[in-house]
Symmetry: C2
Subunit: 494 residues, 2 copies
């Protein structure tokens, strides 16, 4: 979920200046259209870790847009008057009307999260508060409110660096408060509460967008661009689309993303490969034959670019496993029987019982990859799929399954080389079709879909492992080693 | 919620025979259309109290319809195989495909409710399970599944009578199991768990329909008619309506309903009235001046037929209250400012702080009364309002508010008399308009809306009080006495 936000995003001053001017113009225009149409209100939630530039961003939005049509409300601890009413009362009072933008700085999630981190709220109480929030947000969305939720993120290292940077300078050291230090000490606990919260409250209508907050200029442009995209999508949608099926916007695509950040061509000699592969396979073999393996199960998902080497990796994986205990499920286009059911149905059928290992060669992620890019699923359907998939994987994990997901990434050049090679090799010709060449033309759209998939579905319970696969040997070792580690870790707590 | 189901519904054998034949024909036709269209599956959940004819109804559905296209699955305690998978797995496996009807006899709610009643599941755990169920049902609805949920209900007295009846006869006494007796002993605990569960899982897409189950023939026709209505509504809807905004069907209207069951003309002499009114006002005055009244608040809602005497009752109520501590909020058509906000917004603003008393002369129920009947709100909007209103009132109650709701009912004749009288009395002429006469023409539609409103929103935390109002004197006493009782009860636990 936070992988993309932790990359080293940077914008130069010159680039910022240039883009800012255009962005302000476009945001003002969107705001004018919003006020003119009077069709819906925009509600922006600003949340996230301490010191991640939340208030700076709020100032900026105010500066960029027409302040007469934007209302910022900050929510701290409830006042005596607020505490005398139901918790949601103060938020209702501050809702923006149609045609306006409301910015909630710290909203309904702030207190429950804080109380949970500080141990003042139990797991059950927190679940109830989460449910209330879900209901409220669902209702607002159904009432036509465009709900845009930003989660400002800093990694632990980035947070540490920020505090150190401020402390070093006498001019700024006063900015580091006791509160800052306490929160930093509890960074891990904080994330442990927030991550599942973000996952569970990221619905199709109102997902959280994680803002990479370390670089001030990048952060500003990110929020500006995203808010513009979200507003324009709704402003330009035909009025006939019911608010109930309207959808949120994607994070803006970026040259710096989790896929491009990979160094795809990892070195690994044939000799080292043989040795490392054998070692990883051995670890996995031992782990899956452990006497406690019967208490867990494994669901391994393989996705990747065409010709990225999924099949080869799966074969090496199989070699480490007891043939009676594992199964490979190849996933193609749904059959007529499968199309007659909810899209997750065909995957539920294959979920392993304890002691079993199941490998999906492509998976339920087709919904947010090929079905999204090719337009097979309408936008409101693939949008809600992120949350539904997280739910699904959470249920598997809760029953003891290790859910391991691999994205095998190759470069566009490497893919071209492999396609050509397949065409030239008689026994490989069946593996390359006109469709593969067509998919290749949509490279950028797929890349965007993969980045959003990782952002929305890489969770602590079921993280994505991004595998640099230009060198197949490296890819195979990384896959099997990761699986061995995941299974070993699960056995420890089984 | 259960008021309508506890009325004395009866169907004679002859009436049953006549209607059954027609119903079977229509159900078979609907089933054929379903199979032909192949657009969506129907999933019927059968749940409720023990001995309420659930299995008989399932048999009947099988008998009435074409068994080749209906699949009944009974869910008891999970088998070893089922227990080895996530709890939802066995339900996924049994989902009906498009064009078919699936009947789940005991579904995902059975175990959590049972475990909660038996104390094996805490409040937090139950909240989590409820949330999982909500997500699953929401997803199924979004995937196009027509989800029809029946809750078979018997009042405690009806349950007692059933057990006694069976025990009396040697031929049937074996039917009363130990389980039956245990559950009867825990009837109140069972309802205490089920009622909030039904409330929270009655969403716009998939509300529970409570089945009056005491009379075998009535019960059968009720389910048959409702299922037919639900299927026909979806079958006949244009394919362009997205499944996400499709809605569930209302319970079938009935001559025996909570409104018609009232004896509207209650006797009360002027003399007795003076005495009883003074006594009720005194009780209320004392209760609202109690030193602990500062810990609670009161939200009193008045709805009723036109000319039912809401104003008169509210005036007598006001006479008992400290003018500094109460406020009357008259609710008319929303202003332009209010229309620019979610519909509950204008009511949230008026929610009282502790120690205050607020009276709504008409209320948020306009959404499911006038807006429904007059078509001001689209069906999927007023349908989801039931759940949203329950949420809203739950939040008020959780913060210590007494939520008391009154429906003042008069007969059609009495209304006519009052309208004529208003027209003939100069100082009352302003109270009667052409609109009042127009509304009157939709008497039956309003009655249906009121019955459904009571069924869906009369909850333990915020029950409706139905007030027989042909005799205004009786109505006023009943209103003020009820309020006094509610406030006294709240003070006891404050």
């Amino acid at each position: 979920m936070f992988e993309a936000a932790e990359l080293d995003h940077k914008v130069t001053k010159a680039d910022y200046k240039r883009e800012e001017a255009e962005l302000r113009r476009a945001l003002l225009q969107a705001q004018r259209d919003l006020a003119e149409q009077q069709r819906f209100p925009v509600l922006v939630l600003i949340a996230g870790v301490e010191g991640a530039g939340k208030s700076e961003t709020v100032h900026l939005l105010n500066e960029w847009m027409d302040p007469r049509f934007i209302e910022v409300t900050g929510f701290a601890l409830p006042t005596e008057e607020e505490a005398a009413h139901p918790p949601m009362w103060r938020f209702w009072k501050a809702l923006p009307r149609k045609g306006r933008i409301g910015v909630f700085f710290g909203a309904w999630q702030t207190l429950p999260i804080l109380e949970r981190v500080l141990g003042k709220l139990g797991a059950g109480g927190f679940a109830r508060r989460t449910e209330e929030i879900l209901r409220l947000e669902r209702m607002l969305a159904a009432e036509g409110v465009l709900l845009v939720k930003y989660w400002f993120h800093l990694s632990k290292a980035q947070q540490k660096q920020r505090i150190k940077g401020l402390e070093k300078d006498r001019e700024t050291s006063w900015k580091v408060t006791r509160y800052d230090r306490v929160l930093f000490e509890r960074y891990d606990e904080f994330i442990e509460v927030c991550e599942p919260f973000l996952r569970e409250t990221s619905t199709g209508e109102a997902p959280w967008t994680v803002v990479p907050a370390a670089d001030e200029r990048y952060r500003a442009l990110f929020v500006g661009r995203h808010l513009l995209g979200a507003m324009r999508a709704r402003l330009d949608a035909p009025a006939s689309v019911p608010a109930a099926v309207s959808v949120a916007a994607s994070p803006p695509p970026d040259r710096v993303n989790v896929i491009r950040a990979l160094d795809l061509d990892q070195e690994l000699s044939r000799e080292d490969y043989e040795e490392q592969l054998a070692e990883a396979q051995g670890r996995l073999a031992r782990a899956t034959r452990h006497r406690h393996f019967g208490r867990i199960s494994v669901v391994a998902v393989f996705e990747g670019n065409d010709a990225a080497g999924k099949g080869g990796a799966i074969r090496r994986l199989g070699a480490a496993l007891d043939p009676r205990a594992y199964r490979i499920v190849p996933v193609a286009a749904p059959t007529e029987e499968e199309r007659a059911q909810p899209y997750l149905w065909r995957f539920w059928r294959h979920m392993p019982r304890p002691g079993r290992f199941v490998v999906f060669d492509r998976s339920w992620y087709g919904r947010v990859l090929v079905e999204r890019v090719e337009g097979f699923a309408p936008e409101h359907d693939w949008r809600r799929a992120y949350g539904e998939i997280n739910d699904f994987e959470e249920q598997l994990a809760a029953r003891g399954a290790v859910v391991a997901k691999f994205w095998l990434a190759i470069s566009k050049d490497e893919q071209h080389r492999r396609f050509k090679e397949r065409e030239a090799t008689p026994f490989k010709q069946h593996k390359i079709t006109a469709e593969d060449w067509r998919n290749r033309e949509k490279w950028d759209a797929y890349e965007e879909a993969v980045c959003e998939m990782v952002q929305r579905t890489s969770t602590r319970i079921a993280p994505w492992t991004l595998v640099e696969a230009d060198n197949k040997l490296h890819a195979r070792v990384k896959v099997i080693r990761t699986l061995a580690e995941r299974v070993e870790a699960a056995l420890k707590s089984a």
